[in-house]
Symmetry: C2
Subunit: 117 residues, 2 copies
């Protein structure tokens, strides 16, 4: 069973993240090993801090307007193995170990299961 490993960050690093008008930043989730992009969701400053401190992804659900501790209900937790922010500081990338059946609420492993063309 995967274990959560906290990532120690400085306030300086956290201050480089830029949030949109709603106080949110998009977070891409990529699976360790396969490299598959599993999903994209949103974090606010608090859930970003939680994700790093707890070593598992915690999002802000825009539809439910509440903290979304990924996997608390489904069991499909995501353990953070690497986390980075982009050149503009306005997008995050989490490399995770995906627990359970996958990242998507449809039962698919990745949310990106429908191709154009």
């Amino acid at each position: 069973m995967p274990a959560a490993t906290p990532i120690a960050v400085t306030d300086d690093q956290l201050s480089r993240v830029k949030y949109d008008a709603d106080g949110l930043v998009p977070a891409i989730v990529q699976e360790q090993g396969t490299g598959d992009v599993l999903m994209m969701a949103w974090m606010n400053a608090e859930t970003l801090r939680q994700s790093l401190a707890e070593g598992r992804t915690v999002f802000w659900s825009r539809s439910r307007q509440e903290v979304w501790r990924k996997g608390d209900t489904s069991g499909d937790r995501q353990f953070v193995r690497h986390a980075s922010y982009d050149c503009d500081g306005d997008t995050l990338l989490f490399v995770v170990e995906q627990e359970g059946n996958g990242a998507c609420h449809t039962g698919e492993r990745s949310c990106f299961y429908r191709a154009f063309g």
Copy 2:
């Protein structure tokens, strides 16, 4: 030298994409082969259609408020090899062949070159 290959889409597929209040949808760009996530940028309905029709990424620049044909200035074009949309239809994923030095304006190959912790 990589070649552009158009992706034929139906109006039905395009209609599944949901845009935000600004008419934009986030597009994750992943490198074919390495699986590296290179960048995230935004598309509107028109630049999504262009990206698929031309087989290279075309974004909407939020900072410049104009169409951003990736690589027209830098030479670092991205040739689309696979494109998909997520379960909610509100995020896109492009797998590309990256031309030139990389995706990032800083000269880095990926925009996600700064890790937390």
